[in-house]
Symmetry: D2
Subunit: 407 residues, 4 copies
C-alpha cells in the first residue's frame, strides 16, 4: 500500500503522458493526497497520438485536461537558442532530453496558475536528471509551488507492485507493458534517448533494436544526399531554398538524418546527481543542424566572437543539462550568444552519407572570408607580410624576457 | 635580384625539406647573408625519403647536415600530451600542423647551440600561422637568436621568379614543380593538410584528388572494422592487445583510419594573423584516437575533472594553434591536464566504418561507473532517492529567493 | 630633420591636447605629409583649460578646430558600463587610461568623416598600450582609415631634438617643459596615471610629489566621512539622496576620495606590447564606486549571476586594457553583464577614512537577502535543515565513487 | 527529549572544541547512539587553551582524547597553497573559515581509522557552509564513513532547550553562555569570522565590539610601519630578513595587521546552500600576505601565467568555499597554480597604515621587469618601435575585415 508524507494539497497539475506509469501516478495522487488532478499532455514531437491520453484521463475521472501541441514553441524558443551556442554536454551530447523539460515545467506552472492549482507533479525517478530539471524550473517560475515527485515518495518501487497497483485500480495495462521493458525511452522532436537494463554494461554494444529513430549507417543508401540549409540570425530557416517553420524544418532534417544513419551516440555521461550512466541517443536532425551551424559561423563569425563562444559553451551546456534553463546565469550566457548571432546568415551545403554529416560548402553575403587576404597569389597590397615580423616580435617579447630572466 | 635587410649573420640553421622552396632559400641565405648554412631535416612521419635531402644539401655545398628521425619524440612528447586534452581548435581541427612546429623549432635551436650558429631560418610564408609558431618557439627557447624568414624578406614572390632564381643557381627543378601546384600540402605522422588555390572558394567542395592520406567513405569497405585500444595514464599503449610504441601505434591507427575513410575535415578557420582561411585536413589515426580517448575518460574521469578539462580545452587548443607551446600558460594547463590523467586507463572498443569512428564499448579496472548506483532495479540501499529531494531543494533555493525578490 | 615613410595623405585629424608634444606633432604632420591638419581636443575631465588649445591651433594655422566636452558621454557610455563589470586589470587596476582611448578614437573617426579627412594621428609612443588602443579603435570603426603615429616614425626621439624642432618652428615652449619632466602623466575624469623616469625602479617608493589628484592617507582628516550612493540598473545615480548626472556624480566622488586619501595604486603591470611597466594610478572616485557597486550587487545579484560575472571579468578587463573596446567579444561580454544589472538597484553606505572606502551598509527593494532563511533563530519553516543532508549526499556521491574506484 | 534516526554506530570521532555546544553534542551522541565517542581537538591558532577541553572530555567519560597542534600543517599545506592562487571568494573574502575545515575533517578520518571508529561528527548547523565542507571532505577521504550532524538531527533547536539539556546532564555552563551570545564566532590562525544576531541587518554597521582580532583603523598608530616580506616558490618565508616557519610568519603578520587596523571585511555573501548571509571577517595577516603575494608576482610572473591564474581564480575560490578541497578539480587547479610559482621569489616592501596594506617596493633576482625595454630614454636597440606597427596591424586585421563585411 502506498505511503507518502501527506502534505496538504488541493489541486495538482500532472505532466501526463497517458502511459502506464503516469496513469498509476495519477491514481496514486488522487488516493494519497485526496486532491484534484489536472493533466497536462504536450506534443513535443515524441511521435505518439495524444487523444488516447485524453480518453484515459477522462476515464480516470479528470475534469481539467490540457493537451497542447508545443512543437513550434519547443523548436523556436528552446532548441534553436541552444543550437546557437553549439552546445554539447561532455563534448558529445546534444541535450535532447534536457532541453524539453523546462518547457513542460513552464506550461505546468502556467496551467497551475490558470486552474488555481497549488502543486505540480512529474513522473521522473529519484536517480535521474529529469527530476532536477523539472523541479528547478518549477521553483524558478513559482517559488511557492508545491512539488510532488511520486517516484521518490511511494512504495511502488518494483514493476510487479506497480502493475498490481494498476490492476487493483482498474488502470488498463497493455500486454507489452506487463513484462519489463528491456530499456527505457524518452523522445521528442529533437531526439530519442534510451537507457537502462540491456544498456547498463558500457562494454557491451547496444543491439540494433535499441535504435528507434535512425537506421544504421550500414543500412543507409550507398548514394550521398546533399542539402542546403539557409540561416538567419543563427537559426536555420530553409532547406534547399524552401522556407520552413522551426518545427517543420527540424522534422525534415530528422527524416533526412534518419534515412542516412546520422545522429547515433552511445555515451557514458555524468549525471548531476552524481553517478555515471550510459545512454544511447539518436538526434538525426540535430546532428545535421549542429554541423551546419558551425559551418555558417565559420565564415560569418569573427574570431574573437567564435572563440569566446567556444570557451563558454561547456558551462552553458552544463547549465542546461543540470536543469538551470531558467537561472539568471543561463540567461546571461544566452544574451552573450544571441549578441553574436546577429549576422550569422547564409547557406551551408551538407553532405549526408552513412552516418556522416559533412559540410562541403558555405556562402554568405555577410561572409568575413577575404580571398585577397588569404590567397597565395600576389594580393595587390591587401596584406603587408612585413607586418607579421612586428606582430611576432611583440608577441614573443614576454617569452624572451622570461627566458632571459630564467636563464 | 633578391634583396634583404642585411644583418650580420655568421651561421644559420635552416629547416630544410630538400624541396624546391627550401633549396632556393638555402641558396638565397648563402648569397644574401654570405653566411654558413646548416641544414636540419626531420622525419616527422611526412612520408618522404630523407636521403635525397642530404644529397641535395651536399650538392649545394653544405658541410653540416642534420637528418633525424623524430617520430617517436613527436608522438610521445607533443601529440599524445595534446590528445590528453581532447584538443580541438574551433571545435573541429585536431591541430596536426600546429603541434609539429614547436618540435622542429626546438631542434633547430639545439643544433644552433651545438654548431655555434647565431641564426635560424624557416620556409613559412608571411601570411600563415607557421611563421608565428616557428618564431615564438625560437624566441622562447633562445631569446637572443636571430631569425630569418625569407618569404617576408625577399623579392621572389611569384612562382616564376622563384624558378628563374633556382635555374640561375643550378638548383634542380622537378618537372612537376615547374607549373603551379593546384594546392599546397603539409604532412606529418598526425595529419596532412591542404590549402590554397583550388581550395580557396569555401563554397566549392574539394575534389577527391586533394585527399592524400585517406580514401573516401564511399570507397571504404562495406564491412566495419572493430578494434580495441588500450590506455595508460591517458595515452594509448596498445591496439588489440599488442603493445606499441607511440609512433608505431599512431602509424597503425593511420592505416586503419585511411582504410575506413576516417578523418577528413573541410574547414574554414581563423588564423592567428587575422584572416580566415580554408583548409582540408586528413587525420585518420588522430580522429580514432580522439574518440577513443573521450571513451576511456568517460568511465575513468570524475565529473569535476572532466568538466574542468572541457572548459579549459578551447584555450589550450588556441595556445597550440597560435604557437605558444613553450609559453608558461600552456605548461600550466598541461600540468592541470596531466594531473587528471593519472588513472585514465583501460580499454576502448571502436568501430570503424565509412568515415565513422564510433566508441561501442569501454572498460577499466579504474572505472567509476557504478551499476548499482545507476540501475533501475532495486539497488539495495546504494542510493537513497530521498536525498534527491534535499539536493534539489537547496539547488533551487537561490532561484526561489530570486523569483520572490523580483516578483 | 624629420623623416617618414611618406604616404599620400590629404587631411588628418589629430588628437590634440595643446601641449608641446602634440603641437610639435601638428607641425611635423604639416611639414612631412604636406597635408591639412584638423585638431580635435576633448574635455574628458583631465582638468585643463581647452581654450589655450584653440588659440595654439589657430596660431599654427589650423582651420578646422574641434573642441568638445565629452565628460558626460565618457562616464555614461564608457566608465559606467565598465564599472558594471567590477573590472580590474591584473586584480588591481581600474583601467582609467584604457577606457578613455576608445572614445577619443571614435570622435576622431567621426570628425574624419565629417571633414573629409583620410587619416588620423595620435601622440602615443611606440612602447605603450595607448597606440594599440587608439589604432584598434580607429581600424574597427573605419577599416580604410590611414593612421599616423609620429612617435614611431620620426627622428625626434630625444627631448632635446624635440625642443629644437619646436623652437625652429616657433612653437612656444613653456619654461617648465624645457627640462625633462620627472615623470609622465595622463589624466581624465576617472583617474590620473604617472609613469616613467623617477618611477622606473619598482623597488623605490614613489615620492609624494608624484600624486596629483589625492592627498595621502596620512594627510587625510582624522574623522571619517560617510556617504550613501544610490544605484539604478547597476549605475550610480545619486549621492546622499541627490540625483546627479554621471559626470557630476563621478566629479563629486573624486572630491570625496581625494579629501580622504582614497584611490592610490602603485603597480607593476604587464603591457599588451610585451614588457612590464610600473605605473602610479590615482582613481579616487572610481575606487569608491567600485566598492559601492560590489556592495549593491552583494544583496541584489543572484549567486549564479555574480559568480559568472566574476569568472568572465578578468577577460573583460584584459580586452579593455588591450584596446579591444570595439571588438565583438567585448560587446558580447557587455551584453552578458548588462543583462545581469537589470535589478541592481538600491543604496550603499560607504565610509571614507584615510585611504579606506568601506561598505558599511546596503539596502534595496530588490534585495535577495532573506533574514528568515539565514537567521539562527527558529525560522518558522522557511528552511528545512534536513534538506542539507540530501544536498550534501548527492554532492558527495561522485567523490565517494571516485575514492572507491581509486582505493 | 532528543530524537534521532538511530543508525547503528559503534564509535564516533567528534570534532570537539570543549565549548558548550560540542559538549552537549558529545553527551547527545552517547545518549542517542549509545556509542563510544572519541574527541578530537585541534589547535589551528584559534587562540584558546586546549587543556580545558581535555579535562572536560575526561569528565564526560571519554577514553580516547586527541589534542593536536596543527598550526604549521594548516599554514604550510592549506593556507599557503591557497594564497598562491590569490584566492578571493566573491572578489573579497579570503576564505579563512573555509580553508580550515578540510584539515579538521582529514584528521578526523585518520583518527577514525586509527581508533577503529565507524563514524564522525561535527557541530556545524544545517544552514551553513561548514556542514558541507566537513562532510564533503569526510566522504572524499572515506566513502564508507558514517556522518552524524547533530544540529540537523536533534530537537535542541533553541538556546533554552540546549542549556536545559546541559544542566540535566551535568555539563557545566559558563555564566556568559547562559544568555544568547550577540553573534557567533569562528577563529583560526588565518582569521576570525562573526555572524548572526546583531549582524543580521546588512544596512546596519557592525558595532566595534564585534571585532576581536583587529583594532580599528581609527585607533591604529599615526605612524606607518614598513616591513619587507621574503618569498620563495610563491610562499612567504621571512619578515624583515628573519626566516620564519609558516605558522610563525602568519602569527607575526597577524600582530602587525592587528596593530595597524588591517584586514576587516563586512560582507554579504552567497552560501553554497543557497541563501545570502552577512559576515564580518578579520584577516589581518592574510590581508597583508595577499597584497604582498600579488606584489612579488607582479615582477616575477609572466603575463600569460598571471592572466591565466586570474581567470581560473574565481573557480578555485568557489571550490574551496563550497568544500571541494579534496575534489580532483581543485587538485588539478592547484597543479596549474603551483606550476606557475616555481620562480615567484624575492622581496616585497609593504607599508601598513590605518587599515591600508600598500605595496611600495618589490625586487627579485628572478625579476622579469626590464628597465631597458620600458624606459622613455633611448633604449639602445632593446625594442624596435616599428614592430608595434605590425603588431597593431595584424591585431586589427580581423576587426577591419569585420567592419568591411558589416559595413
Amino acid at each position: 500500500m502506498p505511503s507518502a508524507p501527506t502534505r496538504d494539497i488541493k489541486k495538482v497539475v500532472l505532466a501526463y503522458s497517458g502511459g502506464l506509469d503516469t496513469s498509476v501516478i495519477l491514481k496514486w495522487l488522487q488516493e494519497t493526497y485526496r486532491c484534484e488532478v489536472v493533466t497536462f499532455t504536450a506534443d513535443l514531437g515524441q511521435g505518439e497520438e495524444l487523444e488516447p491520453a485524453r480518453k484515459k484521463a477522462e476515464m480516470l475521472g479528470i475534469k481539467e485536461i490540457f493537451i497542447e501541441d508545443l512543437r513550434e514553441e519547443f523548436c523556436r524558443d528552446f532548441v534553436f537558442p541552444m543550437f546557437r551556442a553549439n552546445a554539447l554536454y561532455e563534448g558529445q551530447y546534444l541535450l535532447g532530453t534536457s532541453i524539453a523539460r523546462p518547457l513542460i515545467a513552464k506550461r505546468q506552472i502556467e496551467i497551475a496558475k490558470q486552474t488555481g492549482a497549488d502543486a505540480v507533479a512529474h513522473g521522473a525517478t529519484g536517480k535521474g536528471n529529469d527530476q532536477v530539471r523539472f523541479e528547478l524550473s518549477y521553483y524558478a517560475l513559482n517559488p511557492d509551488i508545491k512539488v510532488i515527485a511520486p517516484w521518490r515518495e511511494w512504495s511502488l518501487t518494483s514493476r510487479t507492485t506497480l502493475i498490481e497497483y494498476a490492476e487493483k485500480h482498474q488502470i488498463p495495462v497493455a500486454k507489452d507493458k506487463r513484462g519489463e521493458a528491456p530499456f527505457s525511452v524518452d523522445a521528442n522532436l529533437l531526439h530519442s534517448s534510451s537507457e537502462g537494463k540491456v544498456l547498463e554494461d558500457p562494454w557491451v554494444e547496444p543491439e540494433e533494436m535499441v535504435y528507434q529513430r535512425t537506421i544504421s549507417p550500414e543500412e543507409a543508401p550507398d548514394q550521398a544526399t546533399v542539402i542546403e540549409i539557409g540561416f538567419k540570425k543563427g537559426d536555420p530557416v530553409s532547406i534547399d531554398g524552401e522556407a520552413l517553420s522551426p518545427a517543420a524544418l527540424l522534422t525534415k532534417l530528422n527524416a533526412l538524418g534518419k534515412a542516412n544513419g546520422i545522429g547515433r551516440l552511445d555515451l557514458v555521461e555524468n549525471r548531476f546527481v552524481g553517478m555515471k550512466s550510459r545512454g544511447v541517443y539518436e538526434t538525426p536532425g540535430g546532428t545535421i543542424l549542429h554541423a551546419a551551424h558551425r559551418g555558417i559561423e565559420s565564415i560569418t563569425l569573427d574570431r574573437g566572437a567564435a572563440h569566446l563562444k567556444d570557451e563558454i559553451m561547456p558551462r552553458y551546456a552544463e547549465l542546461i543539462y543540470n536543469g538551470f534553463w531558467f537561472a539568471p546565469e543561463r540567461e546571461m550566457l544566452q544574451a552573450l550568444i544571441d549578441k553574436s548571432q546577429e549576422h550569422v546568415e547564409g547557406t551551408v551545403r551538407v553532405k549526408l552519407y552513412k552516418g556522416n554529416a559533412t559540410v562541403i560548402g558555405r556562402k554568405s553575403e555577410k561572409s568575413l572570408y577575404s580571398l585577397k587576404h588569404v590567397t597565395f597569389e600576389d594580393d595587390a597590397g591587401a596584406y603587408d607580410q612585413r607586418d607579421a615580423a612586428g606582430f611576432i616580435k611583440l608577441n614573443a617579447l614576454r617569452l624572451r624576457l622570461l627566458k632571459r630572466g630564467r636563464g
